[in-house]
């Protein structure tokens, strides 16, 4: 697992002002696998996820200590190209957030920003990304329609296509299905399963069955600490820590 790990944190601590939101988190994210982060609300899942592409930089009060390595590079180091990092480590949010533009423009936006202007190249990226996001067949005849006319599940897959368009290595997903119905959810779950052939996926979810279904590895967080991290089968069949056991079986609090 060590050699095949794409992101690792070492003794990672994060404070929002006086609030110690991540406490000595040491974990490894295996490459081309799906890792799920679970834990009660406020335990720091989104915070940890945002560390992986330095989205916490946008919050003024944040202070971070400890190391985060992506592909062997310390991403906290001064001089890190944050734009390049966010291209490599993309993010899909809880609520689908397409731009109020056409479907084509939503996907082409990222590559364009990164300097691709050739119309033909962009069309190819749009098609490939939409195919990867399992959306192509549903939208291929209406690429120039507004993205806002899509259903919630389609919008979420469009956001995934938008993330894929800039060819990331890692896709971070923060509760990507919580605004979706069961059918749209099942589509995203299938998609996650396909994505891991080429990408590393880290997903935050409150749905334990979803974590069990889609992930290879699961980390359980509680009050800012990573309590336990291991193979999903093991975590859901017999977790090593009693806290994890209690959380998974709903005997919490």
């Amino acid at each position: 697992m060590t050699s095949d790990c794409i992101i690792s944190t070492h003794d990672l601590n994060l404070w929002y002002g006086g609030k110690h939101a991540l406490q000595s988190v040491t974990m490894k994210i295996p490459k081309n696998k799906v890792t799920a982060l679970i834990g009660p609300s406020g335990c720091g899942k989104s915070t940890l996820l945002r560390c992986f592409n330095r989205l916490n930089d946008l919050i003024d009060s944040v202070k971070i200590t400890g190391g985060i390595l992506f592909d062997g590079q310390d991403i906290q180091a001064p001089g890190t190209d944050v734009v390049a990092l966010r291209k490599k480590v993309g993010m899909v949010f809880q609520k689908p957030n397409p731009f109020p533009k056409s479907i084509r423009e939503n996907v082409a936006y990222g590559p364009r920003i990164h300097g691709i202007t050739d119309r033909y190249a962009l069309d190819r990226i749009v098609e490939e990304s939409l195919r990867h996001a399992a959306l192509w067949d549903e939208v291929k005849d209406r690429l120039d329609d507004s993205a806002l006319g899509l259903s919630g599940g389609q919008q979420q897959r469009l956001c995934i296509a938008r993330t894929l368009a800039v060819e990331p290595d890692v896709i971070l997903m923060d509760e990507p299905c919580s605004a979706l119905d069961p059918i749209a959810t099942a589509k995203i779950e299938n998609l996650i399963d396909l994505l891991k052939r080429e990408y590393t996926v880290i997903i935050v979810t409150h749905n334990m069955q979803q974590a069990a279904r889609v992930s290879d590895f699961t980390g359980f967080m509680y009050l800012g600490r990573l309590v336990e991290c291991g193979q999903t089968k093991q975590i859901f069949e017999h977790p090593a820590d009693e806290l994890t056991e209690n959380y998974i079986t709903g005997r919490f609090g």
Binding site: F236, E237, H238, P239, E245, I248, T249, G250
Partner: protein, 225 residues
């Protein structure tokens, strides 16, 4: 929701313990009926067969419902998995009780001709009651371990199972000796040998419960030979 689930799971486990004791009582009474040549008691065991089948269907159904409605995980999942195994083992034990009870009727003095009545029935019987006691003790301990999560009760199951196996062999050899000495004892001795085999299977089912209780409590699989 979790509270409702756990309340239902607790009741299900209590009812499964009742079913297990019901199956155990069928075996106990069948052996007693055999020892005492009590055909009425044997009849009552045979009559309980329907009830235990009903219990099996009902309890299994409740397990499936809990799985479908709550998708249990970790210890909850292991408890239901173990409960399903206990239900099956209890049914089997009860059914062996029924099979033994039927033999009681077949080889009883009452209702049979002088040919059967004159068959010796003491000697090979000697270790059957003892073997039955040991097997039923194992069943009791396995049920208790399941009911109260007490792994200590099943710690020595491996050696207890060895004793059961040894007794079965000895009953087998004893039976053969009797049959060679007195061909008229063939029917009875064959039945006794079969009963010893059933008791051994019942002890195996107790081991099965024990293995699953161990899994339920620890998440680790063990094998008891």
């Amino acid at each position: 929701m979790a509270e409702k689930f756990h309340a239902e799971l607790d009741t299900l486990k209590k009812d499964t313990v009742k079913m297990a004791r019901f199956g155990r009582s069928m075996l106990r009474d069948a052996v007693d009926a055999m020892v005492r040549q009590d055909t009425q008691l044997a009849e009552s065991v045979v009559a309980r067969k329907e009830k235990i089948h009903e219990l099996e269907v009902e309890l299994e159904e409740r397990c499936y419902q809990l799985i479908a409605l709550y998708q249990p995980m970790a210890k909850d999942m292991r408890e239901i998995a173990c409960t399903l195994k206990v239900i099956t083992a209890s049914l089997r034990i009860g059914r062996y009780g029924k099979v033994i009870a039927k033999i009681v009727n077949e080889i009883s003095d009452a209702g049979n001709g002088p040919a059967i009545r004159s068959i010796p029935r003491t000697s090979p019987m000697m270790s059957i009651p003892h073997m039955a006691d040991l097997a039923i003790d194992m069943i009791d301990d396995a049920i208790e371990a399941y009911d109260t999560s007490t792994l200590r009760l099943i710690e020595d199951f491996s050696s207890r199972d060895d004793t059961i196996d040894a007794l079965r062999h000895s009953i087998f050899r004893e039976g053969i000796t009797h049959m060679m000495e007195n061909p008229r004892s063939l029917t009875r001795c064959t039945h006794f040998i079969m009963v010893a085999r059933y008791l051994e299977r019942c002890a195996d089912h107790a081991c099965n419960i024990a293995e699953n209780v161990h899994y339920m409590e620890t998440g680790e699989r063990i094998e008891i030979h």
